[in-house]
């Protein structure tokens, strides 16, 4: 068969597709949506339950037969021995990226490995509450990028847990978290019996038993109310050890009628940090009709504060607004493990001030005029010579650190010039919020004889889903004075 014939056969098989004119407009509109980085795949639990029930009834024996062909994976019981040494196997940044800063002691440590010809996946920790399941994974697989998807699915005793999911790198190569925005259903023993299926791996499944951490119901949120022309039914309003979770069914609204502003949460310092937001229809797409497409299920989760806070939950839409105020206690201190040395390091004010002119836009909108550099200058390590600048700065009473260091794999530092550099923004003390590649210009390198100066320009991307703005751009000039404690390391 020649290529022309092959082409004709494939065209016939796939069918001819005419480009929908509305797609250009929809794509432009999509760009403007400040939607969190999600992997939307939810239809809604109801549809999944129905589908699974039908499939199970019709094909139960065959499915069981299919399952039995999977290589049996190791079964791990919970090891409720969380202690600060968990940070030795799961770095603190992983907890921060996954939105579990307030629940580090509730993460169960695992060490389960699956391999294939290309590499391995190791489950290193897991956490579950009624709103979400978080897995910490380490892999040597080539996932097609730093945040490439891993071939995994999660189910419990009742079948696939169908909810939107998010995930991503945690800052370390091969380190991932996978967060499912739906909680598991515990068995009679009070534990969730989860099966993690990894296509193409041996074993193909891990079985793990996990305690489902309890949540507290927010009683002040009414179960049902009218929102203008819409009717809102609250499915869940709860506080888990890690998030504030609200799930609602909105009758009268289609998915596109809703958005993050439909259900928002603010505290005294401003909008709470969104961990998950999904809006989905309540039936499979194929069953949508003119009647039922105006029914939308929203699942939203926000990171709970590390201190006691008063929140305002705001519903907007259908021509109406409804607000509910409620208080959330500080997280249980026993749920947070002390991080080694956290309180022992130097304070931002221990470092001398330096004049800066760095404009930040996005997550922070400010101009840094005073910084407190913690790193300044060039140094040589195993990967070559780099130039680093890092500084503390304060915005509205919160300290952040911003760091830049030249990438020696792109170009070794060899004196003043413009270099490709890695940039990171941390919330004190160790929560990495943004990461990116910038152009760092070193105008003056005084080699410890005076101030170093330069400029920077670039954009950092959000890490995980714990902050709202997807980007932080930085531009302007910097100065720093090298000192005994200020080498790049």
């Amino acid at each position: 068969m020649n290529e022309t014939q092959i082409r004709e056969r494939l065209h016939d098989a796939i069918g001819e597709a005419s480009y929908p004119p509305s797609l250009t407009h929809a794509t432009k509109a999509r760009l403007r949506q400040p939607a969190p980085e999600r992997r939307p795949r939810a239809l809604g639990l109801a549809a999944a339950f129905i589908a699974l029930a039908v499939i199970a009834a019709l094909m139960g024996p065959r499915l069981l037969g299919w399952h039995s062909t999977l290589p049996a994976g190791p079964r791990a019981a919970p090891q409720n021995t969380a202690s600060p040494d968990i940070f030795a196997s799961i770095p603190p940044g992983d907890f921060d990226a996954a939105g579990l800063t307030t629940a580090t002691a509730l993460v169960t440590k695992f060490n389960l490995e699956a391999t294939n010809g290309q590499g391995k996946i190791t489950l290193i920790g897991a956490y579950a509450d009624p709103a979400r399941i978080v897995l910490f994974l380490r892999t040597t697989l080539d996932t097609g990028g730093p945040n490439g998807p891993l071939p995994i699915q999660l189910s419990d005793d009742l079948g696939l847990i169908n909810a939107s999911s998010s995930g991503g790198g945690t800052g370390l190569t091969g380190e991932y978290f996978y967060s499912l925005d739906g909680g598991p259903r515990p068995g009679p023993d009070g534990l969730a019996h989860l099966t993690l299926t990894m296509r193409g791996m041996t074993p193909a499944t891990f079985s793990l038993s996990l305690k489902v951490q309890p949540s507290v119901v927010i009683t002040t949120v009414p179960r049902q109310f009218d929102l203008g022309s819409w009717k809102v039914t609250i499915d869940a309003a709860e506080i888990t050890p890690s998030v504030i979770h609200i799930a609602a069914l909105i009758d009268g609204a289609s998915v596109s009628d809703t958005g993050p502003s439909t259900m928002s949460l603010v505290d005294a310092s401003g909008p709470a940090r969104s961990v998950a937001y999904s809006a989905s229809v309540t039936v499979p797409k194929q069953q949508l009709t003119a009647a039922n497409y105006k029914s939308t299920r929203i699942n939203a989760q926000w990171l709970r504060s590390s201190s006691a806070s008063t929140y305002q939950l705001r519903f907007t839409g259908g021509g109406g607004t409804q607000t509910v105020n409620f208080k959330v206690d500080a997280p249980d201190p026993s749920a947070m493990l002390p991080r080694k040395g956290e309180a022992l390091g130097p304070k931002p004010t221990d470092f001398p001030e330096a004049k800066e002119s760095l404009k930040l836009e996005g997550f922070l909108n400010t101009t840094i005029t005073i910084g407190r550099p913690t790193a300044c200058g060039s140094g040589t390590g195993p990967s070559g010579t780099i130039f680093a600048v890092a500084m503390w700065f304060e915005v509205d009473g919160t300290w952040y650190t911003l760091s830049f260091y030249t990438d020696p794999s792109v170009r070794q530092y060899g004196g003043p010039g413009t270099y490709t550099a890695r940039a990171q923004l941390y919330a004190a003390p160790s929560q990495r919020l943004y990461d990116g590649i910038v152009q760092l210009t070193i105008t003056e390198d005084a080699h410890r004889q005076g101030p170093n100066t330069g400029s920077v320009r670039g954009t950092l991307d959000r890490i995980g889903t714990t902050t709202q703005a997807s980007n932080l751009s930085v531009s302007g000039t910097w100065t720093c004075v090298p000192g005994m404690a200020l080498g790049p390391g």
Partner: protein, 177 residues
């Protein structure tokens, strides 16, 4: 130094100009949509995939090298998005583009041989299906296919050959163009 319109648009887009980015991307959308249609089972999924892919391309445009070609870069993202959608099961969030009952997706083949081939195509591993869709549904040259897949032209041909054999469409010599 003279800067072409495309280079200027790339510069503007890299500086954060969304309109410049869309000017660059818009001419590629029909082909991106065809790619998604070839990779996914329904037109609505293809629309979702293109929207998400362009959104991700914009979000990560800072990583786009000025001297690189936009088409293979965007197609790579679309292909990755199709893979992600396939992994995410048969349900999806409806993101504003409604396909109500009564609206019909693209006509599927009624010829049994074409229907069988369609089924066999969807059973191929993602990478093999992708190389066939790029080469024979989008009519790209093997050089362009290779650039999209990030592999050598020889490897792209070899992958296409294996995929065609699997579909029992045993090819004669594969041309370069």
């Amino acid at each position: 130094m003279e800067v072409s319109i495309a280079q200027a648009l790339v510069q503007d887009a890299l500086a954060g100009d969304e309109q410049a980015f869309m000017q660059l991307v818009e001419p590629l959308l029909p082909a991106a949509y065809r790619l998604a249609v070839g990779m996914l089972r329904s037109d609505s999924e293809a629309e979702d995939a293109v929207q998400e892919a362009v959104f991700k391309a914009w979000k990560h445009f800072g990583r786009f090298r000025r001297d690189a070609e936009l088409k293979p870069w965007l197609f790579t993202i679309v292909a990755n998005e199709c893979r992600r959608q396939q992994r995410s099961g048969w349900w999806n969030v409806l993101k504003g583009s409604y396909h109500l009952a009564g609206q019909v997706d693209r006509t599927v083949p009624v010829d049994p041989a074409a229907a069988d081939l369609r089924l066999a195509l969807y059973r191929l591993p993602h990478d093999q299906r992708l190389v066939l869709v790029l080469r024979y549904y989008l009519d790209l040259s093997f050089n362009e296919v290779a650039r999209t897949l990030g592999i050598s032209t020889k490897a792209a041909k070899s992958r296409a050959y294996r995929a065609l054999e699997r579909l029992r469409l045993s090819p004669e010599v594969l041309s370069d163009e």
